[in-house]
Symmetry: C2
Subunit: 368 residues, 2 copies
Amino acid sequence: MSLYGIENLPYGVFSGDDGTRRIGVRLGSGVVDLSPLGGLFAASTLNPLLAAGPPAWAAARAQATAVVAAGSSATPLDQVRLHLPFEVADYTDFYSSEQHALNAGRILRPQSPGLASSWRRLPIGYHGRSATVVVSETPVERPSGQLADGVFGASQRLDIEAEVGFVVGVPGRRVPTTGFADHVFGVVLLNDWSARDIQAFEYRPLGPFLGKSFATSISPWVVPLEALAPIPAPPQDPSPHDYLLPPGPGFDLRLTVDWNDTRVSSPPFAGMYWTAAQQLAHLTSNGASVRTGDLYASGTVSGPGRDQVGSFLELTWNGAEPVKLADGTTRGFLLDGDRVTIGGTAIGAAGVEIGLGSVSGTIRPATG
Amino acid sequence: MSLYGIENLPYGVFSGDDGTRRIGVRLGSGVVDLSPLGGLFAASTLNPLLAAGPPAWAAARAQATAVVAAGSSATPLDQVRLHLPFEVADYTDFYSSEQHALNAGRILRPQSPGLASSWRRLPIGYHGRSATVVVSETPVERPSGQLADGVFGASQRLDIEAEVGFVVGVPGRRVPTTGFADHVFGVVLLNDWSARDIQAFEYRPLGPFLGKSFATSISPWVVPLEALAPIPAPPQDPSPHDYLLPPGPGFDLRLTVDWNDTRVSSPPFAGMYWTAAQQLAHLTSNGASVRTGDLYASGTVSGPGRDQVGSFLELTWNGAEPVKLADGTTRGFLLDGDRVTIGGTAIGAAGVEIGLGSVSGTIRPATG
């Protein structure tokens, strides 16, 4: 059974030989063109659909389902080009896996390895660079920068972060956790490429900047929330402040990380401490607005096992414990030419397993 | 002599009774409508003009100058509404005043009060929230948030940061410092409103987030670089890496900060350690792109004197040394109803003093 059957139907933007960008849904290993339906589908990005809100989202999904049920032909994916599915407004990144935060603290701040005092009180996050959010398969050039005091050069500790991104449709301020599904359209897989050496030298006291801003890759398919089955979120201790309650749904998304041809990790999203509804409520709790096309990411998804971590920093313990790939070579961090694919599946709302697409990137040598 | 004579002519977007947004230049206390000229002026934001690049900028300025020289009538500013002059793509904020960084370190991190080891090596910065960049006179609602462990409420330490913002016109990657004027169109005054209690609780390890994202105000007038006279930038020790050299121009911008009816500070921009050209070169040194409408800010402008600091954190030494206002009341941080205006002047390219406009905001009580 296909992970991209009629129960899934994630949306994307594709073009064929004429270069015109069209909206479609993925079906099996092909894409069904929805642009002939007109209306919200007669656009070159998903933004008009995102802005239209839940009743329109339900109607669009019903239309897409009817088109597929009627047996519309799908164009094979190898005959189309996939584009960034929406124009990104603000991009925000959280840090909501307790295991990742603990691992990162142990590795990067061994003199004070625990969680920050605020970590269990609020979903810590920061703003990232919207300009460099790119679609899967966009090559990633190794960044150069200041790697240590007095040292400028190509990053020697180039890493990934396997995350889930949430795509905001309807603008809002002070969105309660119960308003999550009124504002968020769907999910993508996201790779927050990270140059650990650049990041380590620059991040005090204002946080990551050039260590992250060179590229953030997302999957070309936006899986609508309607296709996903919510699950209970993990318990939280201490109980969060009122504005973060109720916690809202969790999601049983099962990620995979492939380093070249080797599956090196399978991060479980279900264990994330802070929910996407809490992240959105927190993000807007100070009166800040969200807009159509805002993208906010979960933070690196790491489970308790070494084979469940979402970064190579953790997988190789900052390079000290290299991993062996299927071809017999070993890795601490990314080499030029390496390719990383983050994939994922979920049990969908219809009770069958569905695919979340994948986000891939290949490292090109530094030129800067 | 007017600060807004023919030597200045900053651009803005205004509307009259019919609500239509038009591009104009400020002349004296009025605005001259440029929309009848058509072309790049026939838009509702400055973005098309920003994107057009230096030759078009020079031509536009020549056109505007000719219109003003011909005696076109100006509509009084009290008869128009001023709007955000351009659509903000990515917003980035730096931290490039040594005096401010030293003061902030002493106040906020007394256990390790010096500059971070990277501070003199690179212009430290972070990404902010584009959605909440607002035009002068937009009311600023006091944000609520987590002020300390277990405490949620309205910020009690609401502050300003007096800064200069640089508006990017032409997209680019790896912009050398010598390319500054090929990409940057002009400057605005900027107030990076900051809730110090929210910021202090949240900022480790990923930097400021909700303590800043509720509002960032900019002046309605973009002063083109062509109107400003460059000056030599201050010396830097140690000498920066090659990608940050030559340092590019400094600017002798003289800021003022009025708290209600009292001038509390006059921050001198000329002393900023890192130049705007270095900030842009650093921002793009990792391969990250800048786009039309990107806004990057200098960081709080603070000089060595207590009457030259760009934040109330420094002015009142975190509230410990309140300032007395002209009405006899005292302040540590902002009270509801308080109004702050950041103004500025410069010696222009024509050798006469020109105005940089002003950015004002009034604090409304918290509702969240």
